[in-house]
Subunit: 140 residues, 2 copies
Amino acid sequence: MKDELKRKILFPAGDKLPEMFSRYFTGQAYWAPLTQNKDLNCPISNVTFEPACRNNWHSHTGGQILVAVSGKGYYQEKGKPARLLQPGDVVEIAPDVVHWHGAAPDSWFSHLAIETNPQTNKNTWLDSVKDEEYFAATAE
Amino acid sequence: MKDELKRKILFPAGDKLPEMFSRYFTGQAYWAPLTQNKDLNCPISNVTFEPACRNNWHSHTGGQILVAVSGKGYYQEKGKPARLLQPGDVVEIAPDVVHWHGAAPDSWFSHLAIETNPQTNKNTWLDSVKDEEYFAATAE
């Protein structure tokens, strides 16, 4: 990853996503956990996507919150137009809503990912976001 | 608040803190809620402190997480040296730990405040951080 990007995202970029997650991503992403205290029930990590990288369609039984912190990305819920994300944007993902998120085709993107209701949360991973689908959704 | 600052903090600055909170602050702070969905159990707001503004010593039964996003601030736990906070720094405040946070004497400061374990959390507000105490803690 470019040094310039590392400076811009404020938060640590971390390492390449471990295989248990990267298998559900198209393209390369990086992952840095930012919290440790389990009593807080609020795991926060920084996820950085290379241009055009995105995760599969998926849902969380406990929901999730994204806080965009660098670059340009997208969030899309099944059946809705993709939403452009820029630094400062917050996405509240309700439990069980099928969605994907990732970088714009021409930009790196970092967001904080907050696992909500981690005491009971389970993730369900679905199909990858095919190129045709991704480029159509992010072309507007 | 200066327009320049508003642009720099990325997140909305919001309005002056309501009296139910401002009574526990020394100096002027601003507050912008960033989330709405109660099912996520993860209320996030952006808090902006004018220079030298800080809150009283206090604790949260459910803990709290701070994410510094703009300017320069401090976090201090009772009996420990104050910790300098700059954009990208994350503070995990364990349940019942007595602490305060606020701006540096010479800088505005904004942090995201995440209420953890909101289902049961209660705040306990204690003494204000007196000028002598504040300037000594932030002088290092």
